[in-house]
Symmetry: D2
Subunit: 433 residues, 4 copies
């Protein structure tokens, strides 16, 4: 039997991780074919990654056929899973997403700040086209999206494309679970965290280890500085008062919302000294590709884990494995709320624990949001809806409402300045505007 995976954005430096994940799971998830797809501008990287991937598979001895191509449509035919890890406009675009807001005194948050709005605007049209192709060419395929802003992209697709087999994934819940395990000195497999909210705005409400409630213990550790940030985020730590008052596990991105002044000061200083995170990532990427070119290299190099997105691919592989095997295990994904969080719309995409079946994720009921964060979570979801609306419509006023209702902007004049500069800076990637 054929089991075919197509990786859109296959020339990404993350690809070796997903290849490794596929190899490792081959006994239960017997992939027979992998096609890496990228665009003309990524041709060179695609070949480097393709060749490394081939060497990895060869070393593993698994009967997996791997090819790479620029012809997306041809690649999609017969696919069972399509994973997406694209970056429209590349790291240069990300640099602008960060730099332009910072230059006006706003946080250049690339996933759900002003920058994230434009990442969504650039990505939505491309993903809508991709979803249309999938719907035509491999309608039974599951689309596993780990392109950021993963929650908003997933909601845009589920609401506006014809292809309804779309799931969003993120490594934040994975990281939070792993860091928590480390701190409690137990296996990550034994840890479960009840997640509440949306992508990059998710909170943990309850930690159990083999069913034993150990939330209080973790909260105590958090008060002492427990850090479960991915590599791309320097966590400022959380105060006892914050933890005692919310009784929730924040995720690393929450610092942007609740420690805004400090983050801004730090970001501006860092920017003045070293440029943006995007610039650092560009350097890191360059050195990664230098490594990848080495024909002796037959494994995912350690250095890859320094990237913020590490483990994304592991999350994606786990998910595909559970769908394929109808495992009905619990994973944290981005999917339609469907009542799980009673305060949010049924058709909002949320990031919650879900049962993973052959027919996709089924969220486990969360009930009402904790009163202390229900306001900010609802607000953030409403903001996301405005971004999606504008990303689809391409209407200037829609885009303005998204910008001003972002809690990191929320400024009448500043919104217009950011909007105008970012529209200009990214215009080649914004066909809808």
């Amino acid at each position: 039997m054929n089991l075919k995976i197509v990786i859109i954005g296959g020339g990404s430096s993350y690809t070796p991780e997903i290849i490794e994940g596929i190899i490792r799971r081959h006994h239960s998830f017997p992939v027979t074919e992998i096609v890496l797809v990228d665009i003309e501008e990524g041709k060179e990287k695609l070949q480097i990654v393709g060749e490394l991937s081939k060497r990895m598979i060869l070393k593993s001895g698994k009967p997996i056929q791997l090819t790479w191509t620029l012809d997306r449509k041809k690649a999609l035919v017969g696919a069972d899973f399509v994973s997406t890890q694209i970056r429209v406009g590349g790291l240069q675009a990300r640099e602008k997403d960060e730099r332009i807001p910072l230059s006006h005194g706003f946080i250049g948050q690339e996933t759900n700040g002003a920058g994230g709005i434009f990442k969504a605007f650039r990505t939505i049209p491309v993903m809508m086209e991709l979803a249309a192709d999938i719907h035509d060419l491999c309608p039974e395929a599951w689309m596993i999206n780990f392109t950021n802003p993963a929650g908003m992209i997933t909601e845009a697709l589920l609401k506006h494309s014809d292809h309804k087999k779309v799931i969003g994934v993120c490594n934040i819940p994975f990281n939070m679970r792993h860091s928590t395990a480390e701190i409690l000195n137990v296996s990550p497999d034994d840890v479960e965290i009840e997640f509440i909210g949306m992508n990059h705005f998710v909170f943990g409400r309850k930690v159990t280890v083999n069913g034993q409630d150990r939330t209080e213990e973790v909260l105590e550790k958090l008060k002492k500085g427990l850090d479960y940030s991915p590599a791309n985020i320097v966590n400022l730590g959380w105060s006892s008062t914050f933890i005692d008052s919310t009784k929730l596990l924040p995720n690393p991105y929450h610092q942007y919302y609740f420690q805004t002044k400090d983050v801004l000061t730090k970001d501006i200083k860092a920017f003045e000294e070293n440029g943006t995170r995007a610039e650092k990532v560009q350097e890191l990427e360059k050195s990664l590709f230098d490594l990848y070119k080495n024909p002796e290299l037959q494994d995912k190099p350690k250095e890859l884990e320094e990237r913020g997105g590490a483990f994304y691919s592991d999350v994606a592989c786990s998910l595909m494995d559970s769908i394929y095997n109808d495992r009905k295990d619990i994973q944290t994904v981005n999917t339609f709320n469907n009542g799980a969080i009673t305060d949010l719309p049924t058709d909002a995409v949320v990031e919650v624990n879900s049962i993973i079946t052959k027919n996709g994720p089924e969220p486990i009921s969360v009930g009402p949001l904790p009163p202390v964060v229900k306001g900010v979570i609802y607000e953030m979801k409403a903001f996301e809806e405005l971004v999606i609306k504008a990303g689809i419509s391409g209407n200037y006023n829609d885009a303005y409402t998204a910008m001003i209702m972002n809690p990191l902007v929320r400024d009448e004049k500043g919104s217009k300045i950011l909007l105008d500069e970012l529209l200009e800076a990214h215009k080649e990637h914004l066909p809808q505007f």
Copy 2:
């Protein structure tokens, strides 16, 4: 380590089934102590069942200590699980629940018709006292209720008692799953049905076998007369039109609501010929106890499966096993809705697929009810709320509203007649009125 189960109503003829279930699961669910509890009136039966249970355990060779007592409070100390299978007023009361309505031309439905209202009224005060004892004496214990009307009793306890670790179980979803498996010629373990609604008013929406959607096939079989009724219900079968229009799997109790005239005709005829179901059950019980007394008998006798409640205990054992082991498998239980069914209140008890954890069940999101049945399901839930309110308050007018809003009664005059006669007939068991 100690693992203690207390069985309230331990003198019930169903007890050998639960004993068998515990023995069978001993490798993963290592019960060390079982106490059967009953009341003075059930003393003799309790001894018969107790002795049979002892012989069963002896034969199994498992190190389980079994005792029986009339002292409930003493028994509860140290319990991990308390299962409840009581019948306040005994089968004589059930006979009245059926006979009185029938004599006025209404269906004497003992679980959610006029009779069921009074079963709830008799049972609620007893269960409230039990829950208070559990809360005092073994606050960590899970109360597994399979006393009917299981949904309403569970909701009454979850809303009005201090003990919140209460789960209601029923054999209907179990039976539906098993019959469906039989018809599809697959193992019941591979079959999953998405259940929607409340106890004895639950529908199946989707049937999957190892993740493959086979709903249409099952609906076709239903049109040809597939019967998944328990032994106590003669199913009249469902027409093609009904199945094609609803696209749902009804449960056996739905015939009372959608085939009312035929059931009534049949029940009246059967009553005239043979007395009520309750009377038949009384005979059956008598012959069961005659069997149980046989000192040679060391196993649950086959004859027990002819009772309508068969497999209840299996369902309960599965549930206790999964809680104990934090299995996170999917079982169908009665628990707080918590948003799973978006049309029903958060604190309504519903019967839905749930993840079973050490901390109890977490329902999987169902989303909005199917439009075709949302009216009747909502109505039934509102009726249940009225029954619970009256069962707690003991107020005559509250009881009247419950009676008239039952869809099998809904008659201004008839409601009063039934209410007055049933209040009189059961008065010794209705301290609250």
Copy 3:
């Protein structure tokens, strides 16, 4: 300034009432033009009614131009208000709506029983066409619908037609208010009743007279037999227990739902003796038209008030007057719920007290439904949604779900029998099926 009213179904025997209402309000609602419209089959009646109306206007001395025509489109041009009082299939169709169900032991309720379903099915296509014409020819006109089932027809139009200026009216709230006033011996203008629910399933929750709460007093009277039924319904009266338990004012149609057995017995007896209500109405109509023909007659004859629909027109005139004058007074109309009743969908049409403005009705918040009736009201609304869906789709299975979910039918076999016979009986008026 021109103020033009078009009366669809202008040949109806009720027309003189609306003419009288217009004349009476001419000082504040200065109608300049009335056009009566009817279809070929009603040509003769149209002329009789037209001539009587002309005489009425002449006598009044008001400068109103009245004409009649079979050309609907031409009539609509320039209209400010369009009132609709049609009866697709005439009284013969109503007779079938009542007779066929009765012959199978079901209540032939012509507004929201089995008969009402078919009245809706016949009327929806005609009203959809009319709404389309209005939308084309006089898009600013308000459509005032008093064709039954008024609530469902209004919801069908508001949801499925492009014309959104539609309001449904009924004389039941008017009658309840007037009877209540009579019993309290006060002026109807001083009485306000808080209405809750839907057309023909509306309850009164609170009665105030000039702001004084006199609900208890009215409930006491109800227990003694207060009758606020229209002429077409013989009220059986309500018991003390029913009133004390619900604390609500039922409307006359509630007897069909809560006194079903008695009504059925009575209806069958009446039918055997005298034929259906429809047949009686046919006779009454005939004698009315005989009166109308009298060239001496210059007023609405007293005999008209014996019809069940009396005062419908008064309700409609009041409504048009308040819209025209932006009165912001409180009237009871059928309009989108919009949150007024928190338990029902936002886009359900409900019958509630509303502020009447130039821009249409704005419902006053009711809040959650009273627990005692929330089940039946929700159920009834869900049933209505099924009727509307089927009335638009013309799908057999949709029609079956509407039939079986009607609380007066709710019978698997009976539903099919009624459905098939009624579809056959009315086929010429059911183009959509």
Copy 4:
């Protein structure tokens, strides 16, 4: 017949306005007795205001008996209306509410910023006691609250006190309506604005003049700088983009949320130059009382209108008049949502157009919130719930959650600093902490 009004905080400089309003409405709202109540610290002002009020009444010739007292309980006996205009801690407290946040770079917004949280904390216990007295001594009396934060105080009382006849009022909707009238050159009586949201966070969605929709026209004016701010707020104006994107009428307080940076700059500058608004108000008050002392003065002096709260009393008088007369006119008040805004809880207090009856306000349905502001409105309401919870509980962590979830603070460290300093500064008025 007696009609008695008790004014709590009767020594306020606003009292002459309410006296004037009562005199002006005496023909329809025939007040017979007014008692001004204040506390020991306000004794002197109370006498000054009391004597001026007496002179005003004398001049009017109305048969109203006016007295003043420090004995609140005695004053309340027999009251029909109790109006409340207290300022716990006086203007000194307000100065701290503004100065402390400003000194840390946060807006010292005294109604719903950090300062407003403490105004609520100081006021809630006092108002709870007052409500308890009213409930004991004049249970039929309506409590008309115009003490800020008016929305939160009203919600606290409606949820936590036994007295349920409480209505909150504010002059913002009044001012918006009057400024709009001015700009459209029409009478304020002909203007209606659909208000959506909560006190000091209310938006106008639709403007009608005698039922004619003139919203677009007003939005155009807004883009040109229409100012409907009260005297205490300097409006920065709204940009075309903001207006075109939201299509809503902001209220003057919205500048704190959407023009935060500019307001902060301005406030800091103003503070450095002139001290806080509170200090200016103190001076204004002093000069007002100098005027009031003049025994020749028999009227409300013009100078009073320079205060931000001008017309509050007019709003309160209108409201009392409509309740007394069961007018059923439309006024904008703070009352339980009850479904009017479908996105907010049923028991949230909202500021919406309501029908004013003898039994209090009944909100007119608004429906779903406009998507563009639903996030911020929901967030603000959730924040208010946290303030109320903390104001009742006196719990430190509850207070911290309120502070950090305020959109003008939302800073982990800053919240603690503000909280600690404000708790210390106001401790004598915070018995609950």
